[in-house]
């Protein structure tokens, strides 16, 4: 995972500034695009999602940018609805995963034994193929919205935990932490005043980089039939439904929703990477 890479040294000051400017531009652009998707989805006319048997299976046109499906529903509206659902689920899952990772990393700073335990659990989860754990958990919890969120939340923390744990262990050895400890500050106090401020940029970036993974995995297990039930307007459902119409030539049913998903995921990658760059250059 790319977020594990940490640039070791800061770049010279002059290029630093333009670098920061460009990062800001990218962040604002990405945020605008995402806001656009959400607002557009909220404004969708319910009529577009309605069944319209006369206008079914029409190719992309100006009236229907992404074409219509076999029930005459507008694919553009369905895709946007699906994207926002994916976004919401991804947010929820990535937030939970971040929380779990933070908890474990702080836990590992407690003592050697807890650190070993955290490392062991992390390795255990990393040793099983991701998608298998995900499907297992999702089915065990009962599928649907709950299954997907729980499954995603419980499978996306291990790599992030490793990263945070390394950071915590590093800060733990810092002089100012030693001073605080000698002054008699409690572990909780140290965690709140020394570890958390140091971890915050990592948390933000890590969260943003987890999002695209969570979204893609949500679409993946839904596509495989272990996620949302077929009546949910999720991208995974749209994609798996379109499979049976591909051989009859309705290519737009899969192409545009798939493309839209890829674009949204890329926007998040861009956002995450730009914020990381910003954090790195400022601290340098």
């Amino acid at each position: 995972m790319s977020m594990q890479r940490i640039d070791a040294y800061a770049t010279p000051t002059k290029s630093n500034r333009s670098e920061r400017q460009r990062a800001w531009t990218r962040i604002i652009l990405a945020l605008l695009l995402l806001a656009g998707i959400v607002v557009w989805a909220l404004l969708i006319n319910a009529d577009n999602l309605k069944v319209n048997l006369e206008g079914r299976n029409t190719a992309p046109s100006l009236a229907h940018l992404f074409g219509t499906d076999w029930l005459g529903r507008d694919m553009f509206a369905r895709t946007l609805k699906g994207l926002t659902l994916s976004l919401a689920v991804g947010m929820l899952a990535a937030l939970s995963s971040t929380g779990i990772a933070l908890f474990f990393s702080l836990l590992s700073s407690w003592n050697k034994w807890l650190d070993d335990m955290v490392t062991w659990v992390t390795d255990l989860f990393l040793s099983i193929p991701h998608i298998v754990t995900l499907i297992l958990l999702s089915v065990a919890v009962g599928g649907g919205f709950k299954g997907v969120v729980v499954g995603l939340a419980l499978t996306h923390w291990p790599r992030f935990t490793r990263l945070l744990r390394a950071e915590v262990l590093q800060v733990k050895e810092a002089e100012y932490v030693g001073v605080s400890r000698q002054l008699g500050r409690s572990r909780l106090w140290i965690a709140r005043h020394h570890f958390l401020p140091h971890l915050f940029p990592h948390l933000l970036v890590g969260f943003l980089l987890l999002l695209p993974h969570a979204i893609l995995h949500e679409a993946a297990i839904t596509f495989l039939g272990f996620g949302f039930s077929t009546d949910t307007p999720a991208i995974g459902v749209i994609l798996s439904e379109s499979m049976s119409y591909l051989s009859t030539g309705l290519w737009w049913l899969a192409f545009f929703p798939g493309l839209a998903l890829v674009i949204m995921v890329s926007i998040f990658e861009l956002l995450g990477r730009s914020i990381r760059r910003l954090a790195e250059t400022s601290s340098g």
Binding site: T230, E241, T248
Partner: protein, 531 residues
């Protein structure tokens, strides 16, 4: 760089040419021996194998075995193995005499002993074959069999026409995977999940089919369509949505069916529970006005045109166009105004946000369909949208059958039926079958209907029985069709669509039952190539 691209291009194009060359050869090589052999991809691989005593062959012909009786195009009963059959005056004793010249495909003679053995085995098999009413079966001599029934049952004749006779001497545990019978074809090989290969039975007593070898491929819908396109199969069953595609060298044949889809409405108000604790009843659909208004309001033809691409017919009962169907059950539908009036008259008033209400109950329900069944999903979604202007709020939800079974007594479900045996009507609408498996999930009950169906079962011949079956649907005052109690909203009958190779004649087909594929093979003796 450029040179490399040119090379790659040349390499690719030569590859393409090589492929097409090979295909061409294969095609011509096949053409020579296709005269006597056929490849079919018609789906429906039987999970339990080919044992008629556990249900093989109940849709259409058993292929390897033959039955005592059979029914023709117009559902008139004809002799097959039997030479005569007679029902006693009290309707409880059926006597059948059989041909003496019949041999199984292993050369052994088929005798009354085998028939008795078949029915005894089927009765105790605990399978979908319901022979509960058969008290005992005996033979006299080598060619006469007596069936004693507990109660008279006119539909017993349909069992005689669907249960294939198995050989006593060759029946063992593996019979379902290695069947021997007296039907037109002999079993060769079954690769589970892949294909079934059969050859002509040289001992067959009936009209000889003009094909020596048949291969049945078990493919997914997608793969079937691809196989048809690439010319690998002679007959391919596809869902109606594929039927608008042109496939070179093949034509489309569609057959009318009673393979219906409709919405089962819980008939009683909520409150009760089954022994297993499953909730029964639904306060909204328990109101006759709601059920009838839906039946009148939906536009069935629009569903046929829009979802089946025209490959279907509007459905009004579970048995449309069969001899026991009552044509008076056809109603004027797509009439929103009349439907609205019916709801108003019954006290369902718009509560201001477009949903009707009566005594504090909103006209809203969740319609369940089996997740993964695209046709039922489409119908459910389209139905929900179609019915909303009436002021009835329907939410379509996909669930697994396991979940549906826990909810189907209290929620409307998109179901499908359609059988060549009128006993299905009894199972769907009798007070005695309430909550038995998927039968009568409505908990429907109407004494007049029960009485008619009882009379139909006790009838001495099919003609008399059919009259009572028809009255049970609608006798001018009541019945289980939409004219009467309307416990269902039947929507469509799905045409069965096949790609058939040009020049191959597969004859006229009966109205096809629920279940694609095998019913097609029961006319196999008449199939032939154009000369």
């Amino acid at each position: 760089m450029k040179i490399r691209i040119v090379f790659i291009f040349l390499f690719l194009s030569s590859l393409v040419m090589a492929c097409s060359d090979e295909n061409g050869k294969e095609f011509s090589a096949r053409d020579v021996d296709t005269k006597s052999s056929l490849v079919l991809a018609i789906g429906g691989e039987p999970e339990d194998g080919f044992d008629p005593t556990t249900g093989w062959g109940r849709y259409g012909s058993p292929l390897f075995q033959s039955t005592l009786l059979t029914y023709d195009q117009d559902f008139t009963i004809q002799n097959d193995l039997a030479t005569t059959y007679k029902v006693s005056d009290d309707g409880r004793k059926w006597t059948v005499t059989i041909r003496k010249d019949v041999m199984f495909s292993d050369g052994e003679a088929l005798t009354a002993e085998d028939v008795v053995f078949t029915y005894k085995t089927a009765k105790t098999s605990g399978s979908v074959i319901d022979l509960d009413n058969l008290e005992k079966v005996e033979k006299t001599g080598d060619d006469t069999i007596h069936f004693y029934l507990k109660k008279p049952e006119s539909t017993f004749i349909y069992l005689l026409s669907t249960i294939g006779i198995v050989p006593k001497h060759a029946y063992d545990q593996d019979y379902n995977e290695n069947p021997i019978g007296s039907g037109p074809f002999e079993f060769v090989q079954w690769d589970k999940g892949q294909q079934l290969i059969v050859k002509e039975n040289e001992y067959y007593y009936g009209e000889k089919p003009s094909f020596k070898n048949l291969t049945f491929l078990f493919l997914s819908e997608d793969a079937t369509f691809a196989a048809a396109k690439s010319g690998e199969v002679d007959i391919a069953a596809v869902p109606p949505t594929y039927a608008k595609e042109d496939v070179p060298g093949m034509r489309i044949e569609t057959w009318k069916s009673v393979d219906n889809r409709g919405i089962m409405f819980p008939f009683v108000p909520a409150g009760e529970k089954t022994k297993e604790g499953v909730a029964v009843g639904n306060d909204v659909t328990a109101d006759k006005a709601i059920r009838q208004a839906i039946n009148v309001g939906i536009d069935r033809q629009a569903l046929v045109d829009g979802i089946l691409d025209g490959y279907g017919t509007p459905a009004y009962t579970a048995a449309d166009r069969l001899p026991w169907w009552n044509p008076d059950t056809v109603i004027e539908d797509g009439d929103m105004e009349r439907a609205k009036d019916m709801l108003e008259d019954a006290g369902w008033i718009d509560n201001g946000n477009g949903i009707r209400e009566k005594n504090g109950i909103q006209a809203a329900f969740t319609l369940l369909y089996p997740a993964g069944d695209q046709l039922r999903q489409s119908l459910s979604i389209a139905f929900a949208d179609m019915i909303r202007p009436l002021g009835i709020d329907v939410k379509a939800e996909g669930k697994s059958w396991r979940d549906i079974e826990k909810l189907m007594y209290s929620h409307p479900v998109m179901m499908g039926w359609g059988s060549h045996d009128p006993l299905e009507l009894y199972n769907l609408f009798s007070s005695n079958t309430r909550g038995i498996g998927h039968y009568n999930s409505n908990y429907y009950s109407n004494q007049t209907v029960d009485a008619y169906m009882e009379k139909a079962l006790r009838a001495r011949n099919e003609k008399e029985a059919n009259q009572y079956w028809q009255k049970a649907q609608w006798d001018g005052e009541t019945g289980f069709s939409a004219q009467g109690d309307a416990p269902w909203a039947w929507l469509v009958n799905v045409d069965h669509v096949y790609y058939v190779r040009e020049g191959l004649h597969i004859g006229e087909q009966k109205i096809q039952p629920h279940g694609h594929g095998w019913p097609l093979t029961d006319s196999i003796a008449q199939w032939e190539w154009d000369e």
